[in-house]
């Protein structure tokens, strides 16, 4: 069981502090913050999420720049506590619409009320927004969401296409719309985070998709929902074949999940037969299904890096990215980064002629080249030339001292796994009932790396 729960700002101010058992001294928040801040003397290394100081165990997760912390004196399950901290942040976000220091401070009474229902004497009672609704009486005070970066993976839809109402994900599940009536709608987001490592010759060393089907329901009366996935979806690596064999499954075969798990509200009665999930979605945002794929997929971007030495104190880096997805799809907020040799003193950039929405930078402090592109259309390619000047002669092989090139990006309405929600059925008698249904796909880079 946990002894205390608190939320600290980035500066270490305690925003919320709840003591459940009184067996950990009051100064724990300060002790914790000092320890995390100065984990290594130079502050360079991040503190692990679980550690022990003077017999007190500290657990923490970072959520939108805030530290969610719990303490305990017992040998309890750390994954339980870390998971709980994540869930508390999610519940609070469900209630407040937006999670940040400001909204927490404005709603501290509600937050304390939530904390008292979520945990009793250090034991988790429930983290379901749905269940909590019957015990919580304070109403949230909404803050102006427009100017705030929202939380969570679904936040990427904010910059997405116009078809999607941007406010949805910053809407509290309990507060009413200004108009009085709640809008009936449900969001189903298929979010895939992809990790790829390319070898220096462009060959894929590892690739992985971490996917989530995320749901957020604003439907009244909690109707039952049916989600149909690809019929040819299969789970578990086919008999005997290991992850390393990319050969057979390439091309347009079935979607093969290595492993998946489901939210507890999901009924899998017909899943084995026709790949449909039945559930009564609780209020609040929750993952219906998490899945993991190591089956080969087509990488959305190819990265080409060329380094040419020009004399002993100069070199040129040519970075080329090629978008290998359909031309009706656009990737957003692309950032290409590459560490340069430590003795690089100056970099001059040359963008391709007519480049729009591209910026370049050389980060002096960590000797890193950064190239950001607002948008990249499917099928297009872009090149950056960077002329490097060195303060000393290189040791001979620049490629060993620079790179790898890494990329972050977001691609809405695209998912490399080809997992699909074929249909979303809402079981409700009335014919006139036709709530808004949003099924959205998005792909994000997790660790997208090309070695050079």
């Amino acid at each position: 069981m946990i002894s205390q729960f608190f939320v600290l700002s980035q500066r270490g101010d305690s925003i919320v502090f709840r003591d459940y058992r009184g067996d950990v001294p009051k100064g724990s928040a300060e002790i914790f913050f000092r320890k995390v801040k100065f984990w290594k003397e130079d502050g360079g290394e991040e503190a692990p999420p679980v550690f022990n100081v003077d017999g007190v165990n500290y657990f923490h997760v970072k959520v939108v720049g805030l530290l969610f912390v719990a303490t305990s004196r017992t040998n309890l399950s750390p994954s339980l506590v870390l998971e709980l901290l994540q869930r508390i942040s999610r519940v609070i976000k469900d209630y407040l619409g937006v999670l940040n220091e400001d909204s927490l401070r404005k709603n501290f009474v509600l937050v304390y009320e939530l904390l008292d229902e979520v945990v009793d004497f250090g034991y988790v009672q429930t983290t379901s927004t749905e269940i909590l609704k019957s015990y919580i009486f304070n109403e949230p005070i909404m803050i102006d969401a427009g100017r705030l970066p929202p939380l969570g993976p679904a936040a990427m839809f904010m910059q997405g296409t116009k078809r999607m109402p941007g406010t949805a994900i910053t809407k509290s599940v309990v507060a009413n719309e200004p108009g009085g009536r709640k809008r009936e709608e449900i969001f189903v987001d298929i979010i895939e985070k992809i990790s790829i490592t390319f070898s220096s010759s462009g060959y894929i060393l590892t690739s992985e998709i971490d996917g989530t089907i995320q749901m957020k329901s604003y439907l009244t009366g909690n109707p039952e929902i049916r989600l149909a996935l690809n019929e040819d979806l299969s789970i578990g690596k086919a008999g005997g074949r290991s992850v390393y064999d990319y050969g057979g499954s390439a091309g347009s075969g079935a979607v093969i999940l290595d492993d998946c798990n489901f939210h507890e509200s999901v009924h899998l009665d017909s899943f084995d037969v026709d790949r449909t999930l039945t559930l009564v979605p609780p209020d609040g945002e929750f993952p219906v299904m998490n899945y993991r794929i190591t089956q080969e997929f087509k990488p959305p971007f190819r990265i080409n890096t060329l380094i040419e030495e020009a004399g002993s104190l100069k070199a040129e880096v040519i970075l080329k990215i090629r978008a290998e997805f359909p031309s009706d799809i656009t990737a957003n907020t692309i950032l290409v980064q590459m560490p340069l040799p430590t003795y690089t003193s100056r970099v001059s950039f040359e963008l391709e002629p007519g480049a729009v929405g591209q910026t370049t930078d050389f980060k002096e402090s960590n000797k890193r080249l950064e190239w950001s592109l607002k948008k990249v259309l499917g099928g297009s390619d872009h090149t950056l030339r960077a002329k490097l000047t060195f303060s000393q002669e290189s040791h001979g092989n620049i490629t060993k001292e620079a790179g790898p090139v890494s990329m972050t990006f977001t691609i809405p309405m695209y998912n490399p796994s080809r997992l699909q929600v074929k249909y979303l059925q809402i079981a409700k008698k009335s014919k006139t009932y036709n709530p808004y249904r949003w099924v959205r796909y998005v792909t994000q880079a997790n660790s997208y790396v090309a070695r050079i």
Partner: protein, 898 residues
Amino acid sequence: MSGHDSKYFSTTKKGEIPELKEELNSQYKDKRKDAVKKVIAAMTVGKDVSSLFTDVVNCMQTENLELKKLVYLYLINYAKSQPDLAILAVNTFVKDSQDPNPLIRALAVRTMGCIRVDKITEYLCDPLQRCLKDDDPYVRKTAAICVAKLYDINAELVEDRGFLDALKDLISDNNPMVVANAVAALAEIQESSSRPIFEITSHTLSKLLTALNECTEWGQVFILDALSKYKAADAREAENIVERVTPRLQHANCAVVLSAVKMILQQMELITSTDVVRNLCKKMAPPLVTLLSAEPEIQYVALRNINLIVQKRPTILAHEIKVFFCKYNDPIYVKMEKLEIMIKLASDRNIDQVLLEFKEYATEVDVDFVRKAVRAIGRCAIKLERAAERCISVLLELIKIKVNYVVQEAIIVIKDIFRRYPNTYESIIATLCESLDTLDEPEAKASMIWIIGEYAERIDNADELLESFLESFPEEPPQVQLQLLTATVKLFLKKPTEGPQQMIQVVLNNATVETDNPDLRDRAYIYWRLLSTDPEAAKDVVLAEKPVISDDSNQLDPSLLDELLSNIATLSSVYHKPPEAFITRVKTTQKTEDEEYADAGEQGYSDSPAGVAESGVSPPASTAIAQHPAARQPATPAAPALPDLLDLGMDNSNSAIVSADQPAAPAGPPLPVVLPASSGQGLQISAQLVRRDGQVFYSMMFENNSQVPLDGFMIQFNKNTFGLAAGGQLQVPQLLPGTSASTLLPMVLFQNISPGPPNTLLQVAVKNNQQPVWYFNDKIYFHVLFTEDGRMERSTFLETWKSLPDSNEVSRDFPSSVINGVETTLDRLASSNMFFIAKRKHANQEVLYLSAKIPQGIPFLIELTTVIGTPGVKCAIKTPSPEMAPLFFEAVETLLKS
């Protein structure tokens, strides 16, 4: 509600409290509610608003749940500081606990349980009794937790009022939430009680397994954790349990998955069918890997657990090494753990792939990570003989990049590879020597010097290379000095020419005369003596073949590993330490107002918790060091060659304990003679164990009655019951004939513990440079082990006495002992750390109660019965370690006599 809560935080001027007071007493509901909010806001930022207690409590009687909750929140915070006023709230609490609204009933017992004020607790029992049987599951589940709260405040009350039975009944409740809380409460109560309260029988097992399917995710964790203590009767039952638990692996909540894994691993121990085991391993792999898709914090916990699991069952993830490859954006703490697991999973089959990764990591930005990657390559070379050559070529490639810390780390691991595969890879020495000038870290320097010394005969200019280091000898760190000393001796023995001879003189002079470092000086003297008496013997010793080091990547001791595995999914499995090493919270039953006493009672874990914390918090760094015991051996290559010196020479890490003025003659009665001059060729030794300032010393006196000066005294203790061993070096100066010297040798406990029943035998060996080794027997006086923290509070004494079973009580009569004066006897016993607790008269007998404690927190509760001034004392003791009783009685008898 209007406006923003944050307005309550706005600073007000002087009259804040009176202003609030007025608002709290307002006739308008809304105003009162706003006022309470302001009070709570002030409370949360640490302002003292306790003076408003009465006014806030007045707002408690309301139908408005929102307001009621606020008032309760306030009460929990301030009731303790205002216990007399808190009683004002009792009536409302009791009334609320019978409210028609279940939420209010639950809220009342929940809050009452959080208020640790006796007067409130008294009134809690009746409502709690009712709520445990309430119709509403929300009330029952709140009441279940409340029993645990009450137990924490007053365990006796819980037992007297039969709440434990009520709680056990709730295990069969039809609401899974209630079951889960009942299980959690019982598990906690069991934890703090020494009596069996919550034992899982096969009957409760099946009930809980059924509840598991309907529980919330958190309830599932409570139940799984409670069930993990259940020992299945046979393989069949184990298989049945596993079958019920396996579906939990599919859960989206990582805590559920890990608790299920723990349960399955535990039952697997009993399952005999290899097919079933193999199948289970197959089932566990994907969910374990999936944990690595969670948030990095969870990944870290998963990786620390997987680290343990693959040590026990390497096959589970043998084919999954790729998922442990580091991602570019992994936090450093995740990367470090992944590296560790990659080494463990590295095999001849995947080593090429793994090396490619390590090489890539070794060129990344984070220095610690790079170093660990380089070390990982070395560890793979040591682990996989067939891959050693490939590993070395990768290391050479890295050295060529000439990044300073990479080069140094590479040299350190190459030294280990040379130890593992002697005379195999010397061809690369030339490449290594190119980097000689850039080495500035002690460990790297020492490693390079070791290599030069070890292969001095094959390096043409070995003497020049070593000489270049010698110039700065006095400034070098001890590690490098020791290595230089040894390497120069090796060089001299291998190439006894003029140059090396001069060098050795310089080194020996530096290391004996010029240095303050006793380790260095001792080693230098040993070499000096060896070289001057018998150079051939010196060769045998210094150039002896070294034991081959082995792969150290499975470094955990099997018994520790088993213990940690039974603690999978707990903190223990993350710290890789047994729970008692970091859990300081014991038995909360006797938590009194006086916190200091409670603390004293916990001294059982006398190892400084800070130390535990330090190593617990930085697993990556500390394990990295701890894992190299074998690999570090070359730093003292002479050590294995000198076993005859009773292993004395090299183990002096504790010598700092001996302060300079320590060998002064200890005052007091003469020491018993343990080695008479007649048997010691004129050397007489008197010695006795004593306790001073909380530490055990071996007080010794040496008398030289022989005709020759004696020097170079060393001492060693054989295995004994308490693992007593020298905590430093024996500090005895040269003894001229006819002189004597006394010394206090600090002792440490639990070093080499002899098995078998406890006894007081202490076998000692002493040697000097002139005589053979002398062996003699001494006696361990048990009372020197009594620690200073053995004092017990009266209530703790009673509690402990009661908690120990009667079988732990032992008594003995001392017919010849007499107690003439109670006070003087107690004073004398107190000076030996036997502490007086209470006394009573029984007829004409005096009954005294005392307590004592020996290291590792083992208490002795003592009852002495005697008639003052008349021979005959009866001594009864109770202790968790009754096997120590004979030793204890002996000690008491001695103390009563003296």
